[in-house]
Amino acid sequence: MKKMHIELTVNGQPMETLAEPRELLVHVLRERLGLTGTHIGCETSHCGVCTVDMNGKSVKSCTVFAAQANGATITTIEGIAGADGMHILQSSFREHHGLQCGYCTPGMITRAWRLLQENPSPTEEEVRFGMAGNLCRCTGYQNIVKAILHAASEMSAKEAAE
């Protein structure tokens, strides 16, 4: 099948590639653009490891066609850290043991990053509900929730200080 010209803005950089329309966004990111931070788990829209930010919203990139994403602005896990090092969410996951094998972590952090923009000071229940699309086989979620709540309070404190 004929390939299509796909243009995306990924982590602030304009990128273009050729892809078949049926290719999934996650495959284009990983295999055509070399951004392998976004993982593939279930490939059936359940586990959330493929979560990326598309036009300001968390989406499961295994359930978006490359063609559908054409023209979109995407943030992946590679775009979360700043010039001054890890994002507060990333250091908070490390500090609170929010990961074990780390397979789910890119999706967890990319989703939590958007969640904290939608709701900067969530309750524990709001974190759990807002993270319901991301599964983890290792941690039992306790420390993921702790890490996100801690990051939320650090981020608000930092904002108040600025």
Binding site: R22, T44, S58, F65, Q68
Partner: protein, 283 residues
């Protein structure tokens, strides 16, 4: 899991989408959020030569709220949840939408896709039957309106013709109390049983009631008899019991990985009982 190859189209107007659907016949398919369609394509259960992505069609978007409420087909479930004016006018929509899938899926999945899909597991069709909503369908022969209560024929078969688009959903602003009660195996799952209930009351008595059930037949089930059983009562235990009895005559669940028929019938009664009690308490 990669779907078979297809030709991709992204029209900007309803008329252009319809001419693509007309031109390619049953080889073409509309796509809204793709969160029911793409999984089917990955499993190669849907064979599509021409995919018509609706995302750029502005006329399919937007919500208008007046005496009646009109929801553009392309409105996502997340947009519906975050629309506070809509939640004030028809709070049952948000209560139901929050019980669909998970945040990422609600960001992409649309109300139109959910009701047009025809999967008995979808939550919005029963909800729209409860609200007595009307679907506006536009095709090469013009537009027509079909009531949600008449739209569903069997699993994945609806009154929509292949060359018609669902443009919008319209319903009168609901009155009284509401509840969308859903039992699922885990968060993000389709319903084992769900009930949509609207109840209007005055002086402690039910004046009108509308009841529809999800995933308990091969279509959503509007149970007029269950609603009628509540009218004139104080919604006491006896009244709820007769509504449940009436509803059980209208559903026809199948045994599957969510449980055997007996369990589903039992559960349908429990869920409807809870939904009625909550709706009445809010009426």
């Amino acid at each position: 899991m990669i779907p078979a190859a297809f030709e991709y189209h992204r029209p900007k107007a309803v008329a252009d989408a319809i001419s693509l659907l007309t031109q390619h016949g049953d080889d073409a398919r509309a796509m809204a959020g793709g969160h029911s369609l793409i999984p089917m394509m990955k499993l190669r259960m849907a064979h599509i030569g021409h995919l018509v992505d609706l995302q750029d069609i502005a006329d399919l978007k937007g919500v208008t709220i007046g005496a009646s409420i009109r929801i553009g087909a392309l409105t996502t479930q997340a947009e519906l949840i975050n629309n506070t004016a809509l939640t004030t006018a028809a709070p049952i929509l948000k209560e139901a939408a929050l019980q669909i899938a998970d945040p990422q899926i609600r960001n992409v999945g649309t109300v139109g896709g959910n009701v047009a899909n025809g999967d008995p597991g979808n939550d919005m069709p029963g909800l729209m039957q409860c609200l007595d909503a009307t679907y506006t369908l536009t095709g090469p022969r013009g537009s027509r309106d079909v009531r949600a209560r008449d739209f569903y024929q069997s699993a994945y078969f609806t009154s929509r013709k292949d060359d018609e688009l669902l443009v919008a959903i319209t319903f009168a602003k609901p009155v009284g109390g509401y509840a969308y009660e859903k039992q699922k195996r885990k968060i993000g799952d389709y319903a084992t049983a769900a009930a949509a209930v609207q109840i209007a009351a005055s002086g402690g008595r039910v004046t009108a009631a509308s009841i529809a059930m999800t995933n308990l037949s091969d279509t959503p089930v509007y149970s007029a008899a269950a609603g009628a059983a509540l009218v004139g009562t104080a919604c006491d235990a006896a009244a709820i019991k007769s509504a449940v009895t009436a509803m059980l005559l209208d559903i026809n669940p199948a045994s599957d990985n969510r449980g055997p028929v007996e369990f589903k019938r039992h559960l349908a009664g429990v869920i409807l009982g809870r939904a009625i009690a909550r709706a009445f308490s809010r009426a």
